[in-house]
């Protein structure tokens, strides 16, 4: 059993945002808002609190940038694996949910 699962909503959205390309913090916030169609908005406190944890776990890496106030973050291979595991888990949840809903209807 993966000790990091299930992911919190914030961690899941951050990893999803970084799955496409490397991004700085503000970019991650905008991408999360775009992916959730504005339903989920991350504040900088929540973002960096989760980023710190994900970096400590080795799921996200910091890459060099010209602007010290705009650090770039990248999804690590381990992070990508974790995201895949979480997506598989969620697919199982969705499958179960559909099955139960079909039975009850």
């Amino acid at each position: 059993m993966n000790p990091y699962l299930p992911l919190s909503p914030a961690a899941l959205h951050i990893l999803l945002a970084l799955a496409g390309e490397d991004m700085h913090g503000y970019g991650i916030m905008q991408e999360v808002a775009r992916q959730s169609e504005g339903a989920y908005k991350l504040g900088p406190g929540t973002l960096y609190d989760n980023l710190q944890r994900l970096m400590d776990q080795g799921m996200v890496l910091e890459v060099s940038s010209d602007d010290p106030r705009r650090r770039i973050y990248r999804l690590s291979a381990q992070g990508r694996k974790l995201l895949s595991a979480e997506i598989s888990r969620l697919e199982g949840v969705v499958r179960e949910a559909r099955l139960h809903l079909r039975r009850s209807s």
């Binding site: 059993m1 909503p9 503000y26 406190g45 609190d49 710190q52 106030r69 705009r70």
Partner: protein, 334 residues
């Protein structure tokens, strides 16, 4: 100001986190238009950093061996002992400090801290079927609460005065006298078109028998100058016609003709209170006289000297007027 508060909030985060992400968080804060939401978000991250992230991360088992979930939250870490308390304490202290600072330097924050201004609206009944009356014109005070003078105890006791003194400056101005009918109608709680002694401020004991209660009502209405002036026929109630003529009755109390009534012109004279009190106690049959029979008993014995001096013409009884003259005379001799 909000930027300064956000910087203060960032400073309360653990040093390692602040050094690593503080600049980026501030840059995002500067770019964002949702400053209030980001402040709230900052408090959440402060709590999480202090409660969950300070020590080495400990992972909990989220399910038992048979797959039954044990615990799930937004984050899987278990806080170390005491960390919740520490995090909450720091967050509350920070919030209190920022709210206090903003309330003293930024007026809009009064919405959070709250403010109170005294209002005469408490004199209005919660439910009323009375005809709507023209309210007093608003008067803006230059020095609002807490610089407002405290309401006089006498004005609080006599509800008529509290109703008349709309701006709560312990004076009845010419405008307030003019608006007296409208103010007095608000005291008519049972909407019977007149004001009883209780509606004017009398709070009688429940143990009084009906006759004593009636005498107490009459004495209350007679002894207080403002009530005596309004109750022109002296029947112990302020009728509808007396309410309509209230402005003229109040102007008659203005002994120094300065256009307003101050507490000195409204308070009853000490001698009047004393004479009324003695009459109420000794005149048991309520005929307005203290007879020889009523001069018996322990209380009358203590007042024997006063009563005998008051009965100057040896007519065998003492009236309230006799008592008042004697009390004033003895006060003058002191």
């Amino acid at each position: 100001m909000t930027r300064w508060c956000y910087i203060l909030l960032l400073r309360l985060h653990p040093g390692a986190f602040r050094q690593r992400f503080g600049d980026e968080m501030l840059a995002i804060f500067d770019q964002s238009a949702r400053k209030t939401a980001l402040m709230a978000d900052g408090f959440v991250s402060l709590f999480r950093q202090r409660a969950l992230r300070r020590s080495e991360v400990v992972f909990s088992s989220t399910a038992t061996a048979d797959g039954v979930p044990l615990f799930y939250s937004a984050a899987p870490e278990v806080p170390r002992a005491g960390a919740f308390f520490l995090g909450m304490l720091i967050s509350f202290l920070a919030f209190g400090l920022i709210a206090f600072t903003m309330s003293h330097r930024w007026r809009q924050m009064n919405l959070i801290v709250g403010s109170h201004h005294p209002s005469p609206s408490h004199l209005l009944g919660a439910h009323t079927d009375a005809q709507p009356v023209a309210d007093l014109p608003a008067e803006v005070k230059l020095n609002p609460y807490p610089f407002h003078p405290p309401i006089s105890a006498y004005f609080r006791l006599i509800l008529v005065l509290a109703a008349l003194d709309a701006d709560q400056d312990n004076e009845i101005s010419a405008a307030e006298m003019e608006n007296a009918p409208a103010a007095l109608w608000k005291l008519d709680k049972n909407h019977d078109g007149k004001l009883t002694a209780e509606e004017c401020g009398l709070k009688p004991d429940d143990i009084l028998d009906p006759m004593m209660l009636g005498r107490m009502r009459l004495a209350f209405m007679r002894v207080h100058p403002v009530l005596a002036a309004l109750d022109t026929n002296g029947d112990g109630e302020i009728s509808a016609s007396e309410i309509r003529n209230a402005a003229a009755a109040l102007r008659a109390l203005d002994s120094n003709d300065d256009g307003k009534l101050v507490e000195n012109e409204l308070r009853p004279e000490g001698a009047v209170l004393e004479a009324s009190s003695i009459m109420f106690t000794l005149d048991r049959n309520g005929d307005g006289r203290i007879s020889r029979d009523e001069m018996q008993g322990a209380i009358a014995a203590r007042l024997r000297g006063l009563l005998s001096r008051a009965d100057r013409t040896s007519k065998g009884y003492v009236t309230e007027g006799d008592l008042l003259s004697e009390i004033r005379l003895s006060e003058g001799n002191r």
